[in-house]
């Protein structure tokens, strides 16, 4: 056997060693243990996906009925007296009327738990409402939904509620309620709009901060401009390093830091997103400077142009369009992030959204969610359109 053949024999043998059945089994055992541990420690519980579903459906339903618009309400009310238990004060049936709504009770005094018939006449046709029991002391209770028919009549049965016995008269109230006039934005909508304006301005300020600092820094972080001397190379590495560190810290972390520093609110959001934007834009810009084509610069110099003319005619056309494109792209990202930076104290719409969620006011939260969807989507379309135009 030649040495060549020898080696060929050997290699498959060694391979088999690597994947020997003992190692394979050991590997599988280790993997199973690790995954079992991970399953435990991340508290995976698939049952919850099913048991929690009704809550989820409830929330989604509410989110899908945002408290967007509201209409003015008009009310119609009628009252009747009743006594629990029967005693000296003798309540009267309300007076019948030709035009005014009135109630008729099946009897006028009794014990808690007894069934009682309530009939209404002359109400507003085809209108919904509520029947309430108002005791002389204590809280009123809503007992029954009312649905007046096309003649403005209804008849319902209730059970006399468990109210304390009293000489004084109990009151039964029927209140019908309906919308009038045109819908107009609800208070929630107004809050959301003003917070949305704040959010967009927050993103704009953060982007502006980012641009103003990133533009000069980008030249210092461009290798082709800085590689000439040792000292400039040190500056280059320093700035590049800072960019990388700042960029690797999520804006949410920056928001938490700045919320502690300057207090919860949009200013913290501006600083957090601004900080991240400086680093992100600085990197993109400096890469653009690095990829400048020296050819046109050479050609413009060769015509006898001076330094200013060379910059205006050869450098600016090469870097300004991409700078604009990156800036818009960044603004897009900042708008997106500013909508949620409020979760961690950064102000804007996220701040109010997380409050409503915590208070379980999902219909209000729904408005905020829809506003975010619309703004982010619009920003996305606009920014990609502008970027296409510019570059």
């Amino acid at each position: 056997m030649s040495a060549e053949e020898d080696r060929r024999q050997e290699i498959p043998g060694r391979r088999r060693g690597l994947f020997s059945s003992r190692r394979l089994i050991l590997g599988i055992v280790v993997a199973v243990v690790v995954y079992a541990f991970a399953w435990q420690i991340t508290e995976i519980d698939l049952k919850k996906l099913v048991t929690g579903a009704p809550d989820m459906v409830h929330i989604v339903k509410q989110l899908l009925q945002p408290d967007l618009l509201t209409r003015d309400k008009e009310y119609q009310r009628a009252y009747a007296d009743f006594q629990v238990p029967c005693g000296t004060a003798s309540p009267q049936q309300p007076a019948a009327s030709e035009s005014e709504p009135y109630l008729v009770l099946s009897y006028l005094c009794g014990e808690p738990g007894q069934p009682l018939g309530v009939e209404g006449f002359n109400f507003r046709p085809d209108t919904k409402g509520i029947l309430r029991w108002i005791p002389p002391v204590g809280t009123r209770r809503s007992l029954k939904r009312i649905d007046a028919d096309s003649e403005g009549h209804f008849a319902v049965g209730i059970a006399i509620p468990d109210v304390p016995a009293s000489e004084e008269l109990q009151e039964i109230e029927v209140e019908l309620k309906w919308d009038v006039g045109l819908p107009y934005p609800s208070d929630t909508t107004k809050i959301v709009l003003s917070k949305m304006v704040q959010t967009i301005m927050l993103a704009m300020m953060a982007t502006t901060v980012g641009v103003f600092l990133a533009v000069p820094l980008s030249f210092l972080a461009a290798r082709n401009l800085m590689s000439k001397y040792r000292s400039t190379m040190i500056v280059y590495f320093l700035i590049r390093g800072v960019f990388n560190i700042v960029r690797s810290i999520e804006p949410y972390i920056w928001a938490i830091i700045f919320a502690v520093w300057v207090g919860i609110g949009p200013f913290a959001g501006v600083l957090a997103l601004g900080m991240h934007s400086i680093a992100a834009l600085g990197k993109l810009y400096s890469e653009q400077v690095e990829s400048i084509d020296p050819g046109p610069i050479e050609a413009i110099q060769a015509t006898g142009a001076n330094a200013l003319q060379t910059i205006v005619y050869a450098v600016v056309p090469q870097i300004v369009p991409p700078y604009i494109a990156f800036t818009i792209y960044r603004w897009d990202i900042n708008v997106r992030m500013s909508t949620v930076i409020g979760f961690v104290g950064g102000g804007g719409i996220g701040f109010i959204l997380i409050q409503w969620v915590n208070l379980l006011q999902y219909k209000k939260a729904g408005v905020a969610v829809w506003a975010i969807v619309i703004v982010v989507w619009t920003m996305d379309v606009v920014s990609s359109w502008v970027r296409e135009k510019v570059v």
């Binding site: 050819g295 046109p296 050479e298 413009i300 110099q301 015509t303 200013l308 003319q309 205006v312 056309p317």
Partner: protein, 252 residues
Amino acid sequence: MLEIQNLTKIYDGGTVALRNVSMKVKDGEFLVIIGLSGSGKSTLLRCINRLIEPTEGRIIWDGVDVTQLSGEELRKTRRHIGMIFQQFNLVRRSSVLTNVLSGRLGYVSPWRSAVGRFPKKDVEKAMGALRQVGILDQAYKRADELSGGQQQRVGIARALMQDPTLILADEPVASLDPATSHSILRYLEELNREKGVTVLCSLHFLSLARAYATRILALKDGEVVFEGSPAEIDDARFKEIYGEDAIQVEIR
């Protein structure tokens, strides 16, 4: 008259690109520089308008030592020397017209041109230059929308704007097909014959050099190895310039 005396260029890394090069170019000549890749053709051409700083030697053009010029004087000299590049070196995102107008930068007021304004007569001149190279209809397109051949015509139009008495062309047709190459070189020939513009042009193909040159200069490893008329380059000379293994490729 252009006279180069003992020109040497040593790059920062230590590469000796030109070694003691001397030559004379009379006004109205069409001098073609040939040589293998890396022989120093681009370096030589760029030393003449000081896009590259020579290490040693003198370059005397119209009685002025170009190597001694600086600042304003250098720019005044440069504006009479048009340059054409292999990669065209247009500002890709700017319009064709702006690219052509930039050939005028050495003449116009720096401040006005810095905000993009050129005298009306320069705009007319640019249109004239574009008409001359046959792409007037492309004036308002972005430079990078044009084909390679069209871009090189823009490059020529830009050089024309300088009212040059000398044109340096660094492999102006190396990225173009043979037919387009001829049409571009014919523009240079026309300028040379009709307006008496001196042309220094580096070329890859000897066949092209033969067709257009009034005189040929060959470089090898930064040294002049041949200087003479196109007809003087026989097989032996060819092998001397391009190496033993080279074979001639014809471009018609």
